[in-house]
Symmetry: C2
Subunit: 336 residues, 2 copies
């Protein structure tokens, strides 16, 4: 591993580069660290760090820039997320104090909050509906041949699906189906396939079956459950307009974002925070980005994630602090 001094030099380079986005020279490091050593010594260390893959030189006569590995070391040696400035802590507290009501609205607002705190794009993954139990199922006729199923879940979200009907399905039958379904699915999760007892009325049973299969289809359920806030801030993080375009294109694909978050959080989470740097995740177009995510918990169970997406030279301690605080408060608010 790296000896103390190398580590200190690397730390200094990363910190400085995060702040200025300019290659960092040996003189600067010698000045800003309190190892009383000369630039020449720092140079030797930096050369070694470059050989070992932690630093890179854009060109011969420039300073050093951290590689993904360099950032990785920097992040791993952090003892924990940084501390958020008092104003920001207060801001988070105020936000969650006022937060109330609809889950989705709240998650959406949370993504704006987090993006504001970090000035990166924020990603908030909603609790999977599998974890919530059914409170009510209702089949509502819209036209002769179309109906809508609305399922209210215990976490305050709603799943809906369209349904095609036989032409002469009466309103009473829809009402009967609603009652029957509410009675038998109530308290279960949408993923459990509870067996539906027959009602004696064949056409009713057929209707009930149609409904069950319509709402059982998890295809679109995954989709609409990620909230991306402050994507425009990615534009400020890069100066190549094409990089911006690629990143935004990714953020528009909800499915990709969801799997990305999943992948990152499954990969390596320490102290409840997972960080993916540069190419560590597979997406080519996000090679210049890092991701910081933390799960949030409802009643002790991790149910969703919040995270930020920023340039690899993001301010990791600050981002980790913001993500940690927000995930914690969000979980607490949702548990109440």
């Amino acid at each position: 591993m790296l000896d103390d001094r190398k580590a200190a030099v690397l730390r200094a380079v990363v910190r400085e580069y995060i702040e200025t986005a300019q290659p960092v020279g040996s003189a600067h490091v010698a000045r800003t660290t309190d190892l009383g050593v000369s630039p020449a010594t720092v140079r030797n260390e930096m050369a070694a760090l470059e050989r070992e893959g932690y630093l890179a030189q854009p060109h011969t006569s420039a300073g050093r820039v951290p590689t993904d590995l360099g950032y990785r070391f920097f992040v791993d040696q952090l003892t924990g997320p940084g501390a958020l400035p008092a104003v920001q802590r207060q801001q988070v507290r105020d936000f969650f104090a006022k937060a109330h009501g609809e889950l989705e609205q709240m998650l959406h607002d949370t993504s704006s909050l987090l993006s504001g705190l970090t000035s990166y794009a924020a990603l908030v993954l909603a609790p999977p509906s599998e974890r919530a139990t059914v409170r009510s199922v209702q089949v509502v006729g819209l036209t002769d041949r179309a109906a809508m199923v609305v399922v209210v879940l215990s976490n305050g979200t709603i799943e809906k699906a369209m349904l095609e009907l036989d032409a002469d399905t009466g309103d009473e039958r829809l009402a009967a189906a609603s009652t029957h379904l509410s009675a038998h699915l109530g308290g279960t999760s949408l993923t459990d396939r509870t067996h539906m007892p027959a009602t004696g009325d064949q056409r009713l049973d057929a209707l009930v079956d149609t409904v069950v299969s319509a709402i059982g289809d998890p295809a679109d359920r995954e989709q609409n459950h990620v909230f991306v806030g402050g994507a425009s801030r990615m534009a400020a993080a890069f100066d190549a307009v094409d990089t911006v375009r690629q990143v935004l294109a990714i953020l528009e694909q909800q499915y990709v974002v969801v799997s990305l978050l999943r992948e990152v959080i499954d990969h390596d989470t320490v102290q409840g925070i997972a960080v993916s740097i540069g190419t560590e995740h597979g997406l080519q177009s996000l090679a210049e980005c890092s991701i910081v995510v933390a799960p949030y918990e409802i009643e002790g169970e991790p149910v969703g994630t919040v995270g930020v997406l920023g340039p690899t030279r993001m301010n990791y301690p600050q981002a980790m602090a913001a993500v940690a605080v927000v995930s914690e408060r969000l979980g607490r608010t949702l548990s109440a």
Copy 2:
């Protein structure tokens, strides 16, 4: 007004500039138009057009670039939207042939479609819920003190609101409220304040009142009803990363987008298409953008709008064609 030749020159400059994004010189215009006229003559015309405000010169020895006024003339003299290439027309047809089911999903997909057709950002405004009538109202208890009201509307959308309850409101009372509300609000629009007859049960009446005021609040209803697709394509349209940032920031503010669309469509719609060029609308940060919108109609009534947002040098005929076709097909599909 402009004589024929001036108009032809202006048209040529606009067309060329839209295609190349490079200032257009007199020689080029002389070559590409079939007025058998020399560059010198074109120069005179261009100088005149500049004096009259239709063209501008980035610097003395460059070609001319259209001003907003120039684009305006160009757009106004179009006899109608262009024709979409056959592949694209087919693409639209296929899309709406497969489209089905949920309104919101469909509008969302429509925004992707339109963005794909034009390579600009697409904006789709959902029909205002005022136009739909209530099909069902249901109050579902989530916890002791919180309930959710779910209103299913005739157009297949859902409005929901959270509700605080007195501690000991029983499930039966919630059910009674649901029935009562469905019965009396069914068929009305959410904006009509129907008078609720008393039920004889004071606490039930109080609950019903609470629900009515909760769902009557149109505050958040406006919000979530605009779909922005392909925002990332704005990055390709500009080369200043800061312009991109500003535009994206606007697109993230749903409220602003909604009012913008409203404003544009109210302002000047000809042949069902409204175009706002550059600074014609008020938003400073969209000074380099133009907007093309068209209303779509359900059963002959205009209910929402589709549009695209692109750089002022967008391909107007193509964008107008795409918007026209999509709005027409969307309306037709929703009317079915």
